[in-house]
């Protein structure tokens, strides 16, 4: 059942997501086509500049639309009239959240890959070859300096990005879940919860920075900085892994909020 639900979830995403990506690829191809007529004239510069601007906007729209699509799918499918059907299925609330999360992350990764493909299209030809050469040169240089640490950094960084995506998605799910507990203006309440949470994080961050500044002399920060200077590779690994752990912990908290509300405080329209 879970597999089928995931398949249909994915299919419903694709119905809206796919045309947007095709349009983005088409705009990239058009932008590259314009370069067939490359010339040192004002007309060409205007047209080429416009094509680049439109292309950049298409990438932004694609990412924004993906985010909106994921939010709307979660809210509509679980907390509106559709929710009555969704919760009659033999699927637990945990599975509902997980399926939505996996589909969202998959679609976000898909958007990123399509955006990269569109960059390849718009730069195709000599420019793309030179970009590949530049990347290869920098990679060789980084390998000479970092050795095997480079591969680990890349893996940790990719994992950190995926965790950041998961964490961000679950945060939004948590806000939507809290918002739906109210009878009126649920979306407004969800947005409000998000902003309150954001403000609390900002205040906590400011307090933390102030405490660090005030007690700078008493804290062993110099020792830490010396250690980082002496062990840069280890320091970067610890930095990346710390972020992965932080994202994991916060993701679990946001998941727990969504799970608890869906299981105990469901308030369908």
């Amino acid at each position: 059942m879970v597999g089928k639900l995931f398949k249909y979830e994915f299919a419903s995403y694709l119905r809206t997501w796919l045309p947007v990506q095709i349009i983005m690829l088409g705009i990239a191809a058009l932008g590259r086509f314009v370069q067939f007529f490359e010339a040192d004239t004002t007309v060409y510069k205007i047209i080429f500049g416009s094509s680049v601007v439109v292309y950049a906007l298409s990438i932004i729209v694609s990412f924004v639309l993906t985010g909106i699509l994921c939010i709307v799918r979660f809210y509509k499918n679980l907390f509106t009239g559709e929710g009555y059907l969704s919760f009659t299925l033999p699927v637990t609330p945990a599975q509902h959240i997980l399926i939505k999360l996996l589909a969202t992350v998959a679609v976000e990764i898909g958007t990123f890959i399509v955006a990269l493909t569109s960059v390849c299209i718009i730069t195709s030809g000599e420019l793309f070859n030179e970009i590949l050469k530049a990347i290869a040169y920098l990679t060789n240089m980084a390998t000479d300096i970092l050795g095997t640490h480079l591969v680990l950094y890349v893996i940790e960084f990719i994992f950190m990005l995926i965790m950041a995506s998961v964490c961000g998605t679950l945060l939004i799910y948590g806000c939507i879940s809290i918002g739906q507990t109210f009878n009126k203006s649920r979306v407004g309440w969800a947005v409000g919860v998000y902003f309150i949470y954001y403000m609390i994080c900002q205040i906590a961050g400011t307090v933390f920075a102030t405490v660090i500044t005030l007690f700078y002399d008493k804290l062993p920060l110099n020792n830490i900085l010396e250690w980082i200077e002496a062990n840069p590779n280890a320091a970067i690994h610890i930095f990346l892994c710390s972020f992965i752990v932080i994202y994991l912990i916060t993701a679990v908290i946001y998941y727990a909020v969504s799970y608890f509300i869906i299981k105990r405080k469901l308030n369908l329209e």
């Binding site: 299209i121 195709s124 030809g125 000599e126 030179e130």
Partner: protein, 257 residues
Amino acid sequence: MKKILRITSLILAIVLCCLGLVSCNALDDMRRHHGNWTDDRDILLDGVKYVKLPPNDYFSPLPDTSDNVISVTEEGVPVLLSSMFSDGYGYFTEDKALIYFVTYTDDSWYYCREDLYEVTVARMNSEFIAEGYCYNYYDYEEETDKIYYLTMDEAEAVAEVKNTVKPTEIPASTEIYYDYTIYLYECTADLNFKKEVFELCSNDGRYCIVDNYGSAPLVYPVPDEYSSVFESIFKEYINAEGYWDEEFYYEDEFGVA
């Protein structure tokens, strides 16, 4: 849906294959300004070798700084990374026979096209014979350094003032402020060899020559009959440089012959 995807992929693949045939003018331009060091630290740029010239006190052809900067890197650096990994920045002279390259460690050298190297070195080794006067200035409109070569009348007027007017010796610690100061060079007619000789200074329509190369600065006030000539010398400089808001403090003693 699958049919649409297949057709879309096919069109994209065809387009991608065709687009690979198109070259990029911007890249070609970057390649023309990206040189490589040879084994003996000469420059290979756009298929032409430029050989490092020996140092010379007077050899200073003017680089064309309006053109794009030339970057020089080790062999193998991709053209997109040329400015990032360049050891400095360089400029062609207007005839593209020479490159003026400044490293990030503040060394600067001239490099000559290989086929002109022998001729240029022979010229550098020959005696410096001044054929006129000139000064450098920056043209903000064209965004490049320029040289103004004094006309025969202007050069004669400068020489006349320097040779006939009795100078006033200024204490070495004195600071003198002028509206405009031109560093004047003796130079060859082709402007490739220059030797700084003295300064021409102007304040509110009055002019003087300042010689700082002796034991103490000497000021040669310009007589009124030469004012119009000196005004024409300064014209190009003033037009290009704009107004300098500095005061002239040496007013009381200025003008004493």
